[in-house]
Symmetry: C2
Subunit: 443 residues, 2 copies
């Protein structure tokens, strides 16, 4: 390693928060001290740990390092690097900003903060010339942000399709594998610790939406916050949806989708006319690599101009995987400090608008319970045509009173597809629209 | 970006070689010039291109940039970064060493050179304090080396299982999907351009072995060259092997396997007593994420202590994907130059021995055509016991003269398994050992 001016003899690390991830970071810093020193070039030393309740017993954590005064810790002269694993917006944001203002390199696993107010953090990192790393904020230990920030930085990303929430993937996988209903699968996920007592953040897609915002920002070099993300959870996914997908040799997944929307005339610059950022359940073919992501695993599929299709797969959550991602970031920022360098800074030069969901072009799978009479198909087909939606395939299943129609559309704006479904609901011959699901990754 | 001392106003790039990948690099440098400048902080400018035949017409390449004098080009004062896409050992090695000696940052896609003599290149990068990046050398555009070099640098890798050769994966996938024989599948791969006229480097596993050496080196921080890698190709994989795998709900893949071998007493340090680095066909369960890697795609599955299981998937070859990986490296080294920094340097502090194949612990699937007589199973079981190999499952398929026995073993040293197979061949009641395949990723 080429030493920078005034290479430090050691680097001191302050840790904010000492829950599941924090305790694991402390353990890794101790157990892998020799490896880390070899990889960084100088030893890493824990300077202090800010916690709210210093009295609580923490296995393997030296009580002498604990402090309740996080503000003093992050600005201490002898601290070089600050790791934040508190979570939530405040006090995490203020502490990170104070740390950067004091010239510390910072590492955070805080997806909520990055999705809500990443712009403020990125601006501070630029202003104070410090490193801001956050690999652990999306998809746990899967090295995903670093490839997007660094490896694909010379490429042009068209689309990111991600399974970024383990809880919902576990639930959907159980529904697919064992034919379980949503409630039954949720209860099982809760019993196994994959879902929390209040599962709202996961099953309503809030967690995935935060990650989608972070991914879109990185992929398209454009500011996107969680509020910009169109969000639908999985609470309305039924056994009928899952069974319908099976008949199509497909599987239902909750996807975080970040897509560059090309200009309508195909011109208007290579960045396109905007981006679509959304989280919703979708059918994907079983042959797609994302379909084989089982249980609580995460995976992110990236389509780039030169690199083609890439996928990153792994455990998306958990103390050890998250701590591993934090340690990877720690080695990177420590090396930067030893070398007198700084890491990549988020560049949001593209400033693309986030388009409304209605303008997003997608495909629908629609299953209808229909009356058993002649002319049904003609009436249904007319409803699609009226909204300018063209049908790719239609199939009648069952006979007589059990007859159902399965329709898969070609690509059309979501607003037109949605209006078609509303129109179908109003038709006399349609007893029930029993399943509506977007179709992705099937081109 | 924090500017280093004397931030350059532009960075000049020399390109060595202008074949498929080189032409694509030139195109991307031109088409994405604005994006690249935004991401790096200063513009990148092509200073010259060394080629053997300057008269050949190259679409989109300015003939004024061409030179046959590569040695002068790589040491030119105004050149900051040298990209080598010539391939092969010489003159690539000498040119890269000259470039580093002159203080240039270098980028190479040359797996043969890195696998044969990576140590010399790494030593030069350390000695002259220059960057050496080589993402494109393994698995094309899949950002794989960077995660191993940087993201997982704070973790402890136990095992790497990779499908790193697209040609052989295409052939095995055709054999699995369409029941094709090896020769038929090879011919089809050649017709489609997935395999070369002389397919030896691919089908005999030489290409995969070079990549295994590079991966093992990175994963275990220990020197490994291509000659250290145990290598078996796919030319002897039969339709019977593939059909047998199907019966086991498994699939045959050519795997590059890099494994840390724990000390026998479980102690003796966390690095283990050595590493096993090998390339051979193996059966893996269809439920494993690597099983869904189809056609000519590549994927690398990594098992790490904290991060758990990770997989990286994508196009493993081709001009555009490889050029994308080169561009990613280019942005990284350019940013380092602008910031006055240097990238990670290979650290081979572990110095673990590469163990012989016989000591590698694995499992075998064995299919036998046996005589139709009583006591066959006892005689076969005795042969396994004689070599200390324990049987996990045995199954008889067919009746009378068509009877065959399928045996799957527990884990045992490869030497014992191999001796068992030799012993089985010598038994009178065994008409033929019709399939032998190692079983991986099934624990």
């Amino acid at each position: 390693m080429k030493p920078g001016r005034g290479t430090p003899r050691r680097l001191k690390v302050a840790l904010l928060g000492c829950g599941v991830v924090g305790t694991e970071v402390v353990r890794l810093l101790r157990d892998q001290a020799d490896d880390l020193a070899a990889r960084v070039g100088v030893p890493l030393e824990l300077a202090g740990i800010a916690v709210r309740r210093p009295d609580r017993v923490r296995q393997g954590v030296d009580p002498a390092l604990l402090t309740t005064d996080a503000h003093t810790l992050v600005t201490r002269d002898d601290v070089d690097i600050v790791i934040e694993v508190i979570g939530g917006i405040e006090p995490a944001r203020t502490l990170l900003l104070e740390a950067m203002k004091s010239g510390k390199s910072v590492i955070t696993a805080n997806k909520a903060l990055l999705a809500e107010d990443g712009a403020t953090l990125f601006a501070a990192a630029r202003e104070y010339g410090t490193d801001l790393y956050y690999e652990a904020s999306v998809a746990g230990a899967i090295p995903l942000l670093r490839p997007l920030r660094e490896s694909l930085v010379g490429d042009h990303v068209h689309r990111v399709l991600g399974i970024v929430n383990g809880t919902t993937n576990y639930i959907l996988d159980q529904m697919d594998t064992h034919g379980a209903g949503f409630n039954e699968a949720l209860e099982e996920a809760q019993a196994l610790g994959y879902a929390e007592a209040d599962p709202t953040a996961d099953v309503e897609g809030f967690d995935a939406a935060a990650k989608a915002a972070i991914l879109a920002q990185l992929a398209f070099h454009t500011p996107v916050s969680a509020a910009d993300v169109h969000r639908e959870g999985i609470t309305e996914v039924t056994s009928a949806d899952v069974a319908g997908a099976k008949e199509m040799d497909s599987v239902v997944k909750l996807l975080a989708i970040c897509e560059r929307v090309p200009a309508e005339d195909g011109g208007a610059g290579r960045h396109g006319r905007g981006v679509s950022v959304r989280v919703h359940p979708a059918m994907i073919p079983r042959s797609h690599p994302l379909a084989s992501v089982r249980e609580a695993y995460n995976a992110v599929f990236v389509e780039a101009e030169s690199a083609g299709s890439l996928m990153f797969y792994g455990a998306g959550a958990g103390g050890a995987p998250t701590a591993s991602a934090v340690l990877g970031d720690l080695v990177a920022v420590a090396r930067n400090l030893v070398g007198g360098a700084s890491g990549p800074v988020e560049v949001t030069y593209a400033e693309l608008p986030v388009l409304p969901m209605g303008e997003t072009v997608t495909r629908y799978y629609i299953q209808l319970d229909v009356a058993d009479q002649t002319g049904v198909l003609a009436t249904v087909a007319e409803e699609f045509a009226r909204h300018g939606v063209s049908i790719q395939a239609v199939r009648q299943v069952g006979l007589g009173d059990d007859a159902k129609l399965v329709v898969v559309t070609h690509r059309a704006p979501d607003a037109a597809l949605s209006a078609t479904v509303d129109g179908l609901r109003r038709l006399d011959i349609v007893r029930k629209v029993s399943s509506v699901m977007r179709v992705e990754a099937d081109e």
